[in-house]
Symmetry: C2
Subunit: 267 residues, 2 copies
């Protein structure tokens, strides 16, 4: 069973994950970050030791979690000595194989969620995807995951990247559309808050009906007049016009194709 | 005060609006739809008379609400005799002026929400945007709106269209990204449900921090390696690759510009 954990990284994921691990009765032996303010900030929040020096990394943890940006993982691996310890990264899109060339037992612990340092989340609801090079490590890491969340799955590196891409569509890209909507409203001094009931209802409907059946609006109705009017209205903000036309076209195409598919299935 | 209402249309908006009006103690004198099944379906649900014949439209209502697709509004206006009654359409993107050439008192009653016949909504939270050609009609229509919702605003036709476009970005386009994510997951037999906690958290964060500060992911970090990996992974599904690259580029551009703006403001 995993009890003692060291966290390498002090960013959004490390912050929320360390809180969840403590809540599950685990012990955080140490936090490492190369940035003094990040390391001390998180260490202070969760009341545990920290270091900014790779050579001060403590031995003897049951698990070392690398929760840093994808680009920084390799640097960590080159710098640290893990002496055959269990080491898991938390990245959606980094292959487990990047861990293979080092003296450690490779694993991945990927939480499917958007994290911020200052917004706490309930881990129990968060899907956790586990991968490990050897079966016993897979088993004990799955055990740890189940102490945090009721939704624990196995995923290999290819599946995990695909899930990560789907998450980017569902989270980062939708958030970007909230941002574009906010900017449009700002131009006419209208507050973004007026969209919140609509946004919440959009999410409620997708859960009830699924995204295909939940779709509304001029594109899915193929209402060419309105699409043209909107495009003209956006002509002064070039990028918005381009995005409006592009996504409307995609909605029309996907819904036409899907309707055809449904028809063919019925024949 | 508006008491007696006739609804022209029996679709998503008409269904939800008629329920809200009844809850607010209003009387639905009649439902009109050219489609027998739609008209009788809604009339049966809310227990009121209906007709499919324009010539049977009852006189004497305090308000006639035209809740049909934008493309069908003009046909309604050409077909019906309103005899100087108060007539409001519910469209986000149809100018009030389309009502000017007829014997009626023009108005608009635009609820900012995504409606489905089978998913009931709480109108109290829905922003309602009012426009009317004459001041007294504006006043009584605002009174009606306030009996339904705590969020009642005035908006002219240009503002309303802009709000509608922002709503399309925040609702229809985000729902389309849910659909694209679902399709990606399906290819690997992963259920869309695993994304629901992420989607809900995305909405909780946008409400807490606003969309600019809530953004996470490889594009806002300008993580070129991951963006390239994902784009390659999507190379077999052409549209998805195009959309992935296009929206990632938009996130990078908007966030770079906005950071510059923030910097300039601070100087």
């Amino acid at each position: 069973m995993i009890k003692k954990i060291i966290l390498i990284g002090a960013g959004n994921v490390a912050t929320q994950l360390s809180k969840a691990l403590l809540n599950a009765g685990k012990e955080i032996l140490q936090i490492y970050s190369r940035t003094e303010s990040s390391a001390s900030g998180l260490a202070h929040k969760i009341n545990c030791p920290y270091t900014t020096r790779p050579e001060e990394l403590l031995p003897g943890a049951d698990l070392y979690i690398i929760a840093v940006s994808d680009a920084a993982i390799e640097e960590i691996l080159k710098t640290f000595q893990f002496n055959n310890a269990l080491v898991a990264h938390t990245s959606g899109s980094t292959d487990i194989k990047v861990l293979y060339d080092y003296d450690l037992r490779p694993a991945v612990f990927y939480p499917l969620q958007t994290f911020s340092k200052d917004v706490d989340v309930d881990f129990n609801d968060i899907p956790l995807f586990i991968e490990a090079k050897n079966d016993n490590d897979h088993k004990i890491l799955t055990g740890l995951a189940k102490s945090l969340s009721s939704k624990v799955f196995s995923a290999d590196s290819r599946q995990r990247m695909l899930i990560h891409i789907a998450a980017i569509f569902a989270c980062n890209f939708t958030n970007h559309f909230f941002y574009l909507a906010e900017n449009l409203l700002k131009k006419h001094r209208v507050d973004f808050d007026i969209l919140m009931p609509l946004i919440k209802e959009t999410v409620r409907k997708v859960e009830l009906k699924g995204p295909f059946n939940a779709q509304t609006g001029p594109a899915v109705r193929s209402d060419k007049n309105i699409l043209k009017l909107h495009s003209e209205m956006l002509s002064s903000v070039e990028d918005y016009q381009k995005i409006y036309n592009f996504i409307s076209e995609s909605i029309i195409t996907e819904h036409t194709n899907n309707r055809e598919k449904h028809k063919n299935e019925k024949l």
